[in-house]
Amino acid sequence: MLRLDPVRVEMPATAEEAVALLHQHQEGARLVAGGTDIVPNLKHNLLEPVVLVHLGRAQNALSGVQDDGDHLVIGAMTTLHDISVNPLVTAHCPALADAAHHVAGPQLRRMGTIGGNLCLDTRCLYYNQTYFWREALGFCLKKDGTQCHVVAGGKKCVAAASNDGATALLALGADLTILGPDGSRTLPLADFYVADGVRNTVLARDEMVTSVRVKKAGPHRREGFAKLRHREAIDYPMLSVAVALHVDDNDIVEAATLIVNALAARPKSVRLDFCVGKKWDAALDEDIAARAHKQCTPMTNICDDPGWRKDMVPVYVHKALRKARA
């Protein structure tokens, strides 16, 4: 089997100690939470850290879901499994619970954390492979090479964000708490991702996400999540869709967010301004799905069949909307 190259592992007891280690080693350090993304990536020689900062000892302090009035605060080390079954999350942010439940398989959900999911490295057919395979390919511009195999002549990496947690939390308008050497800061998740497949977040090398704050649904938010994947378990999304509609008592839309993920480095926010003031009915669903279809353009970064994936965008938007209505 694939082996991990020897690497030093530090196990700080607190988030502050972890950040201090990150600050000390900068590019040479990588954070390990559940390890479900980074371990295979290390085995593929996609990262070459000098030190791994393992958060195992800090997990308890960084885990759990707190009820904070009209918000939930979720520790970054809360596992995806715990989120998927947490009564507060299933009651107040059902799309997030659903998204967490759709990540990978049971074993991986019990290891993988929401913080790790939000910070997931982007994925590509030409990147998530062994060193041998990538060498035979001639490498790619995300790692060790200069050429993009998805976009001929492309100079910008288009590896895809593949985190279902991000899809749901973006739709729900979550904020992140980020700890750095100079203390904590709060950042809207919407400002967290950038359109660069090499590194698709604004997180500095010496920062870590410590918690996520997300508004409870309340009586006027309707939300739904849907995921297209090859199999009913294990697979990363080919499309990850989350929708949140704020409607008044008469089903008139006050605000609407639709996120489609797994297209490119940054989760796609489909503009739904046109919905505001309209009645949420089947016709509006059609319009939303059509708008998404128009705005989303899958590439060959994660699957060889972008045409079919594009056709599936409205189907899965409808699916998410059906869940929101239910």
Partner: protein, 806 residues
């Protein structure tokens, strides 16, 4: 039942009121596997679990080019690493080998050129696996690119010059083997047919995806000059032979041990580079050397299902008689021949039953290409044409207005008959299999009558129970078994057969228990070790139960007769027993059943089997026997007529219940019923396991699995995603309900009537699903796998055609 009182070899205590059990514990029972609890509790040591003192680790440097000449190999940086003990290249092991003696076309490591991305170039032995990996990275190989040949069309037009000849073993161009056979006058019959169908089918390449990766340990005993190779193989005997040839050791200085294997499915049925490399590296270093493939290397070792493009024409008469079938098949073989010569034959030879045809012709050509070599995967060579033929049968039935089951029954080649290509059918339960799946699926009320989007489909197939000829011509048994009795009451049975999870050890133990009347836990099976066991040719071609079974039967019955005659003599002699037998006990009056030996004329006279064994040992001395099986010469009287001829043929029918989502193109298989005639189910649980596993594997090939290669210039010859994340096998959530229905039509050539069950039940899964899709939405799909994209395209074409017609 009360236990008789103590009985012992020195005298007999008569116990009345003991009833003899009806049947021994061995046969036909739903007993668990003899190794089941060991596997469940983690006691089993697979090859990679074995650690020997001082063991080194081997990794193999693999080619990053699809087709290139090796210009230079620079080992200096790797050899300079502390802890690297030896590195070998193709120069060190120049002898060619190959599973088929006529196509020895590969080397343990490439000598002059590489033929696919992943071909082995050098092998390193180092203190740790990590260090071996580092050394592999430090080896610099300089290549000069040649022309890669990546598909059969290109292969058909190239190979006449060095730049485009994939493998120098090809006599003409890039052809491994072409087979052209004709039975009757197929063109005339096609011309005279009332209905003719004519289509091109494409079967994708798929691989075995056994969960245990290949692993081997070489252990050279310098003092004795004796090499032991422990390997996760299905063919210890062939490995033994090829190791001797390539490493230049006499066969009697090599021992091959096969530990329990974690799945094989044909993917471990020939020697692989790692086995030679660990042997050679151990001989160089004098230390044990282990090599464990990564999952990616398993994909490169491959030997999986051949991609085939198949042009099929089939004609039928108004009454449903299939009068002609003609096929032209191009087979994409990859870089080496493997079993390819046989594949080219099987692609045509195994299609002629259980649904026969009056006239038949096929041309099949296997080409070399610059990709990992294809070989035998469960249902070797015949799963692909079966897919094409069974769809065409469905089409013919529709054109004729016949039920597709009725059409199949109409053309049944049954018991005692010969197929059009001369294969002798023993038993065949086609009717019973069809009836079983029809009943279970409520075919009469549901086929053709479900609302659009839901449908049923049927398909059938047959398969061999071993081949009549061994891979290398010889007059020795294809399977040998030795049995030895122990005065403790245990029985040891030695067989070279390989238990790869299919349960051959359990079958051996069951036969032994049945014949000697012992409980199954008193049987010690010793298998898969060339030093300890007589030769069995290996776990392939669905041959083991039939051939090993016969050998075991012969050995066990010889031993049983010894026990019977010793006991008869004893009971005539012993004072107490004599009162019962009157000195008239003959060997056949003695029965070994239920842990005891019984006097059949008066079952109050009985001893434990242990005592019976002691009496026999006292009578004969140490008691043991051998048994062997060799097929009688069978098959058609023409060149190639023996290939595909088998002592017995199994028979299968599938019905699939499928829903098609027209919006996404996804097919949702609700349920598959599989009926399989295995002759006699020696252990129904094992048979059902094989039926379910085969059907699962077939379903995987319909829905998901595909060996995809990069098409553009940069990715030429690169396997897309050689991992179990990108090569997707169905999870439990994706797998349909499968119901296995055993049909038993005992075959005169099978042990207790048994035939194969391991491969046949895969074949018709695939066309059954295809035919169900047609029943559901009226589209025919000719290209596997049936991805949602392809299904939607077919539906779109259907809609366009309907629009045009309107």
């Amino acid at each position: 039942m009360t236990e008789p009182k103590t009985v012992h070899a020195h005298g007999t205590t008569i116990e009345h009121s003991v009833e003899r059990p009806h049947q021994g514990p061995g046969l036909g029972g739903r007993g668990r596997k003899v190794d089941g609890s060991q596997k469940a509790t983690g006691r089993v040591l697979y090859a990679d679990d074995i650690m020997l003192p001082g063991m080194l680790h081997c990794k193999i440097k693999r080619a990053t080019r699809a087709h290139a000449r090796i210009v230079d190999i620079d080992l200096s940086a790797a050899l300079a690493l502390d802890g690297v003990h030896a590195i070998i290249t193709g120069q060190d092991l120049p002898t060619k080998y190959g599973i088929i003696p006529w196509t020895k076309d590969e080397r343990a490591l490439c000598k002059d050129k590489v033929r696919f991305i992943g071909d082995g170039v050098c092998a390193v032995a180092a203190d740790t696996e990590e260090l071996a990996n580092l050394a592999v990275r430090k080896i610099k190989v300089t290549y000069e690119d040649l022309d890669p040949v990546l598909d059969t069309d290109t292969a058909a037009q190239t190979g006449d010059d060095e730049r485009s000849k994939v493998n120098e073993k090809a006599k003409r161009g890039n052809i491994t083997k072409r087979v052209e056979l004709s039975f009757g006058d197929v063109d005339k019959a096609l011309a005279e047919a009332d209905v003719v169908v004519d289509d091109v089918f494409q079967f994708q390449g798929t691989t075995h995806a056994a969960i245990e990766p290949h692993c081997a340990i070489g252990d050279y005993d310098v003092g004795r000059g004796m090499l032991t190779v422990i390997s996760a193989t299905q063919v210890p005997h062939y490995l033994h032979r090829d190791l001797a040839e390539v490493l230049g050791l006499p066969q009697n200085r090599i021992r091959v041990k096969q530990p329990p294997v974690g799945g094989a499915f044909g993917g471990k049925s020939e020697p692989f580079d790692l086995e030679f490399c660990v042997g050679q590296l151990s001989m160089i270093t004098g230390r044990p050397v282990k090599c464990l493939y990564t999952r990616e290397e398993v994909f490169y070792a491959h030997r999986g299902r051949h991609p085939m493009r198949m042009h099929f024409q089939a004609g039928a008469k108004k009454d449903g008689t299939v009068c002609a079938v003609k096929s032209h098949i191009d087979i994409d073989g990859g870089a080496y021949a493997s079993f390819g010569m046989i594949t080219a034959y099987y692609a045509g030879q195994l299609l002629t039953g259980p649904v026969g045809m009056q006239n038949y012709a096929f041309t099949s050509t296997r080409y070399y290409t610059n990709k990992p070599a294809c070989g035998p995967k469960r249902g070797h060579g015949s799963v692909q044409p079966r897919f094409a033929f069974e769809i065409q049968l469905d089409m013919l039935a529709e054109r004729l207005g016949m039920d597709p089951m009725a059409l199949r029954k109409k053309n049944f080649v049954g018991e005692g008959q010969k197929t059009v290509n001369g294969q002798q059918i023993g038993s065949s339960g086609l009717h019973e299999c069809l009836d079983a799946v029809a009943k279970a699926s409520d075919w009469a009320n549901r086929y053709g009558k479900l609302p659009r989007g839901r449908g049923l489909g049927v398909a059938t197939s047959m398969y061999i129970s071993g081949t009549n000829y061994p891979i290398y011509p010889n007059d020795m048994p294809q399977s040998g078994v030795q049995v030895a009795l122990d005065r403790s009451g245990r029985v040891r049975i030695f067989s070279g057969a390989s238990d790869i999870g299919q349960g051959s050890d359990s079958v051996l133990a069951q036969i032994c228990a049945e014949e000697l009347g012992v409980d199954i836990d008193s049987v010690q099976v010793v298998s898969g070790d060339t030093d300890l066991c007589p030769v069995d040719l290996g776990a392939y071609s669905s041959r083991v139960t039939l051939m090993m079974g016969h050998a075991a039967l012969e050995a066990c019955r010889t031993v049983r007769e010894k026990v019977q005659s010793a006991l008869a003599a004893f009971w005539n002699r012993d004072e107490a027993a004599h009162k019962v037998t009157g000195g008239q006990c003959t060997p056949t009056d003695v029965a070994l059943e239920g842990g005891r030996a019984w006097y059949l004329n008066d079952t109050s006279l009985a001893v434990s089997v242990t005592d019976a064994f002691r009496i026999a040992e006292a009578h004969w001395g140490t008691v043991g026997a051998t048994g062997g099986y060799r097929t009688k010469e069978r098959g058609g009287e023409y060149r190639g007529g023996t290939i595909g001829s088998s002592p017995a043929y199994s028979c299968t029918a599938h019905v699939a219940d499928v829903e098609v989502c027209e919006q996404t193109g996804r097919i949702l298989v609700h349920k598959i019923w599989v009926a399989h005639d295995c002759g006699r189910a020696l252990n129904p649980v094992l048979v059902e396991g094989q039926m379910e596993g085969s059907t699962y594997m077939g379903f995987a090939e319909v829905a998901l699995e595909e060996m995809l290669y990069g098409a553009n210039a940069v990715r030429q010859g690169m396997l897309v995603g050689p991992s179990l994340l990108d090569y997707r096998i169905p999870t439990t959530l994706d797998t349909p309900a499968i119901e296995a229905l055993i049909v038993e039509k005992p075959d005169p050539n099978g042990p207790y009537g048994a035939k194969e069950a391991g491969e046949g039940p895969l074949h018709s899964t695939i066309p059954a699903v295809a035919n169900a899709i047609y029943d559901a939405v009226g589209v025919r799909l000719f290209e596997l796998p049936f991805t949602p994209h392809k299904v939607r395209q077919a539906l779109a074409q259907q809609a366009q055609a309907a629009e045009k017609a309107a």
